[in-house]
Symmetry: C2
């Protein structure tokens, strides 16, 4: 009632809340939903919890505004200089912290694009990017189609350029390219060569390159399906920009949510090493998404503990590799086609529609919705490709970084949903015919 | 470089950072600044710290997105229903949480005012409101002058109405009134009668009333200067709206920063009990300023611990009362005029310019800057009335909720700064001639 026009557009409740809150548990909530739809990594929770409790002595200075997060910015700078193998050491003044990368993405859109200006985003994309970048900024996204080409392949830059020229022909100003690298939902890294081509492209058109590297450390060895061969991860900050791009246009996002399995602690960082104006402008802006000093302490404690953190990362990567192998074997055993060559993240991108159709008598009008309905009937929740801007129908993202019992329960339900013929129309649960807007 | 036009306006660094980071300590940093400029309450830090450590068992669910902050929203709802004495019990779905009231204010400006629309704000105001409400929203503020009238007095509504009509005559849409109640920097409460008049005024013109009640529990008995007589605190949620206003226009902000002396933990809440559209629209928006699950746990632990929290509030209020009496005696003893009748907050609003001028041979061109320069020369930092939109020059806010040694050091420096004649021009430290933009 009497809201601004921008807020008035959002007065339809999101139906996914009740589903996400009704989380299956074998004894406490056996009738709940198994949620393999949200990108959370449970594999190292016990280790993080142990380190948190062993080290969390909160000083009273944490109750004050403090030193503008100098400790966390220093810890992040030192840690990422090593782990992103940066050309130039990251200094604390190159880092701005915010309450998660959700807000970091918004800060980037605000800083680089005025209302109506366009940021290019390739398909498929991390499903929360559109909301994060546009909801309150007035920024527009220019989605890039790749057709049958590899969205991370050598030809991808041509597609970005075509889309840029199309936007310009429409009188739109394009100001940035937003990458998720390693890629969500594809679980792959841009090759060093493609990154270099993207840097040159950005320089040619004076575009900011925003590389969201929130999965930078969640990489692993793929021992099972190496076609296309997995590209090793190179941060954009690891590439010498000399002769490629004005480095003031290169920016990296990183956070603790994915690599440290800690979405709830809300710490994201913007790293920009050669753009003083940006960091000055961000200083008052990041106060609007200020990180908790408790999260700052927990993460600084972790990042500063060299021995512990190196073991943590190594163990996490080993687990991700074996879980990936496990789910790939499950997919193959159940006739589910998935996108191969993965070496990062904790999900697979799978063509559930194809498997579903094999078990149906007729083809549904809306394949994505039909599969989603089937999944929800079987009380398993996945993120639909529709939310990721998938160019093909029927694709879903399956998150595998769960306790094995929970994962197996979910995988079993997926198979049941795909292989059980559609019930008669009048038997379907209409309350599930909702447009689920979730893509964390 | 190549920033959006909105970000480009912010490329002048804030000079206050080095001052705020250079905090005086008697042995560790004796040459630093005593900072009585930031509204932080140190009086109960030890108690909060003890409770935090005694109760903080972080479950691994804190590492996930969890239940959309249901626990903290439930705890806040129950706690504020009691302490704000609300007409209708607050339910969890009436509460949205964000990373501090800084972002809560931004959310309100975004939700109620489109770019160019006006929110009315009386002078003097909390100095961070303008940035919080306008920096990224495009919202405008309509500042309300009161001249010789009391900004919280019976006539204040007339002034709001005059300002509204002026804005309308300029073709501007006015959509809300923003109150700080109890008032920062005046340290007083709006009387119940004035609140009722404000509710009627908002209803007449279909304005949202945003009552920032972040100091709701930081009230105390004033035993020393009761003219004007302090008004008891009544939350806007404690007034039955029947016959006064459509309750969908009434909103309250509250947070842990002030009443629990914990700015660094970043938890602010929007409470709106009769506007489902608003709460629906806020659901995706507050993800952009998401609170840390650690802060959620710490505060839920505190608010749910009835015995502890009641003692905490009571002890805090007793301390605030005696510290207020202490600083008032200091002001009187040092010929410093201050705004009386205070019963809330932890600061006094003082006419330092008057005292300063008594000790100078000539009148400076810019009294505010001259006093600020004198303070900084003596290495004490205060928030200038300029940043609070003060209608009169020379007024400053002095925060008294510090450890007694620290407070006394600061008060001594203030007296020295005011009573020491201005040095010769060529002796002044020009690096201090900065426009300090701090008003937390």
């Amino acid at each position: 009632m009497a809201l601004s026009s921008r807020a008035s557009k959002l007065t339809t409740p999101d139906p996914s809340g009740p589903i996400l809150s009704d989380n299956w548990h074998p004894t406490l909530n056996p009738s709940g939903y198994v949620n393999l739809g949200v990108a959370e990594n449970y594999l190292m929770h016990a280790s993080l919890q142990q380190h948190l409790h062993a080290n969390l002595k909160v000083p009273t200075s944490a109750f004050t505004y403090g030193d503008f997060f100098k400790r966390s910015r220093t810890a992040i700078a030192s840690f990422l200089t090593k782990h992103l193998n940066t050309v130039v050491p990251i200094k604390p003044e190159h880092v701005a912290v915010a309450s998660g990368c959700t807000s970091a993405v918004e800060h980037m859109a605000w800083a680089f694009a005025d209302p109506g200006d366009v940021i290019l985003l390739g398909r498929p994309y991390y499903g929360a990017f559109p909301g994060d970048a546009t909801l309150r900024t007035g920024t527009k996204l220019g989605f890039v189609d790749f057709g049958e080409d590899d969205p991370l392949g050598a030809n991808c830059v041509e597609k970005y350029e075509e889309r840029l020229l199309e936007a310009r022909a429409n009188g739109e100003k394009v100001s940035a390219v937003l990458l998720c690298h390693p890629h969500n939902p594809l679980g792959r890294c841009y090759s060093r060569d493609v990154l270099i081509d993207l840097l040159k492209f950005c320089n040619k058109y004076k575009l900011h390159l925003i590389s969201d590297e929130i999965y930078a450390l969640s990489i692993f060895e793929n021992k099972i399906d190496t076609n296309p061969p997995p590209a090793p991860f190179y941060s954009v900050l690891s590439i010498d920009p000399t002769g490629l791009i004005d480095p003031a246009y290169v920016h990296c996002l990183w956070g603790m949510s994915k690599d440290f399995g800690a979405n709830g602690l809300r710490l994201g960082a913007i790293i920009s090493q050669h753009n003083v104006d940006l960091m000055t402008a961000l200083a008052p802006a990041v106060l609007l998404s200020s990180v908790s000093s408790l999260s700052e302490h927990v993460f600084a404690n972790a990042l500063e503990d060299d021995v512990w953190v190196e073991n943590y990362i190594k163990e996490n990567q080993q687990k991700l590799g074996s879980y990936y192998e496990y789910i790939v074997k499950w997919a193959k055993a159940n006739d589910i086609v998935y996108a191969t060559g993965v070496n990062a993240g904790f999900f697979i991108w799978a063509d559930l529609g194809r498997t579903y159709l094999k078990h149906q008598d007729s083809k549904p009008e809306d394949l994505d919705q039909a599969v989603m309905d089937a999944l929800l009937r079987h009380k398993v929740f996945l993120a639909s490709g529709v939310r990721f801007g998938s160019e093909k129908p029927g694709w879903f993202r399956i998150v595998f970084s769960h306790d094995m019992d929970y994962l197996n329960e979910g995988l079993g339900r997926i198979v049941a949903a795909l292989t059980t013929p559609e019930p008669l129309k009048n038997m379907s649960n209409l309350s599930l015919q909702v447009d689920l807007d979730v893509a964390f």
